[in-house]
Symmetry: C2
Subunit: 277 residues, 2 copies
């Protein structure tokens, strides 16, 4: 007799800030349980008693509706809010409380238990650097000019749709890195060589490559049944781009499987570029 399917549970990510960290860690943990389906709800900005009580009401209502108790992942910092959320009829897992005790012991001081210290944005210099990095990525996104390359930390090269733009933006937002990108032209691909103008910056170059099948899917989504998304064209471009990287000694990675976060972090890690935060 087949076992009846487990009831669908609701998983809550509760935070006094954005909930982004609670989501990342909670999802990573839940992804370890194959096949189980979870409804996900993020409750951000739980910053006062009323909001905490409303969160508890919502958590308990989900438990009644599901017929199985919810799971709560919390990064709540404030003790007053924590005490309230903790009283919900859920499995309560607290990423903050579990570690603050051991840290207090180790450091020999009490923590401040103050919300809102995790972000450096109040720090003007860091905020401005982050914005400048984003602007740099935007202004140097299509390889029209090498004028700003002396200021670049890294220059991503690759064929159209190999992941250059989102990786540059993520490098800017997450790490404050000044990342330009250079789309290899028909001409570069034909010659199998970097253009003259790039040679002075060769040591800043990092190549992105991608499996032809995946590239075709991505391009097909953009321009269905075009030369641009044809199997032959895509295979030709990828092969030639890899030749260009090899000939010029440009390090390169395959972006087919990793997420944008992983591509950006790999570039950082392999090039040794200094991050700004």
């Amino acid at each position: 007799m087949p076992t009846p399917p487990e009831k669908q549970r609701t998983v809550f990510f509760v935070s006094d800030r954005t909930g982004i960290t609670a989501e990342a860690l909670g999802r990573s943990l839940m992804s370890q349980f194959d096949g189980a389906a979870f409804r996900q709800v993020t409750l951000p900005f739980i910053s006062d008693v009323d909001k905490a009580n409303a969160a508890v009401a919502r958590i308990n209502a989900a438990g009644r509706a599901d017929g199985v108790r919810p799971i709560v992942f919390s990064t709540i910092v404030d003790d007053a809010m924590r005490v309230i959320i903790q009283r919900s009829q859920a499995l309560y897992l607290d990423f903050f409380a579990a570690f603050i005790g051991p840290l207090e012991n180790e450091l020999g001081v009490k923590s401040s238990h103050t919300v809102g210290r995790a972000h450096a944005s109040a720090d003007n210099a860091a905020y401005i650097q982050r914005i400048e990095a984003v602007n740099f990525a935007l202004a140097n996104d299509d390889g029209v000019s090498t004028r700003n390359y002396p200021k670049a930390d890294v220059i991503l090269a690759g064929v159209s749709r190999s992941g250059k733009t989102p990786t540059c933006l993520y490098l800017a937002l997450q790490y404050g890195v000044f990342a330009a990108n250079y789309p290899l032209t028909e001409d570069d691909l034909k010659r199998g060589q970097l253009p003259e103008a790039l040679l002075p910056y060769r040591n800043k170059l990092y190549g992105l490559t991608i499996d032809p099948e995946r590239l075709q899917q991505i391009r097909h989504h953009r321009r269905p049944n075009s030369h641009y998304s044809s199997s032959n064209q895509v295979r030709y471009e990828v092969r030639q781009a890899e030749d260009v990287f090899r000939a010029a000694g440009v390090p390169c990675m395959n972006t087919t499987l990793p997420s944008i976060e992983e591509i950006a972090t790999t570039v950082l890690h392999q090039t040794g570029i200094k991050r700004r935060f």
Copy 2:
């Protein structure tokens, strides 16, 4: 007699993936200890025994150099790597191991302990949506045309340097939201009203405002001692922009203190826009 300053400790963020989550949560925890200075080192992609052993060597070396044992925040999923890192001479805090047990008990199943399930990028549809959202933000960044506004989930309006562009990009990357942005023109500000062309999209508009002093700093960094960054101009623009939002009934938030993550999440939360992941 003043107490001697505590020795500077090294804090390690260790992960078999990017380390971004370990950093976020570890930094949030460490920020609770006022005044203590920590050297931060991220060790990402610790995905085999050799890398784990090298990480331990580095952690222990830092402890010897500092004269005080390091703190390790880990999101390592694989048991084989965890066992190695755990043996380092550090305070070892494991965001994964601490919660996987309670979850296994609750769900009544063993977890797979498999690295690399947290990212949906292998899921083509989600990857393509993320890229499409980034492209949408880029293509609709300067308000030149309202042509794509029917496809927008949200349209951020505000004066130059109020945070529109990075917020749109973050909404795209983190949540897959299609966010356009519209910089209020001299004309809009003078009239104190939204332009005709925006009226059909009024219910998609969300305003960003900012304290004049902060805006002046940001603009000054860009164009020092210009009309654009003058105290009078900045105060005039902010006042008029707030009038425009008020007159048109456009909800709005102040971006002076929150981080880009917080601005993006607040927009999502207050508008009720559906995120795509």
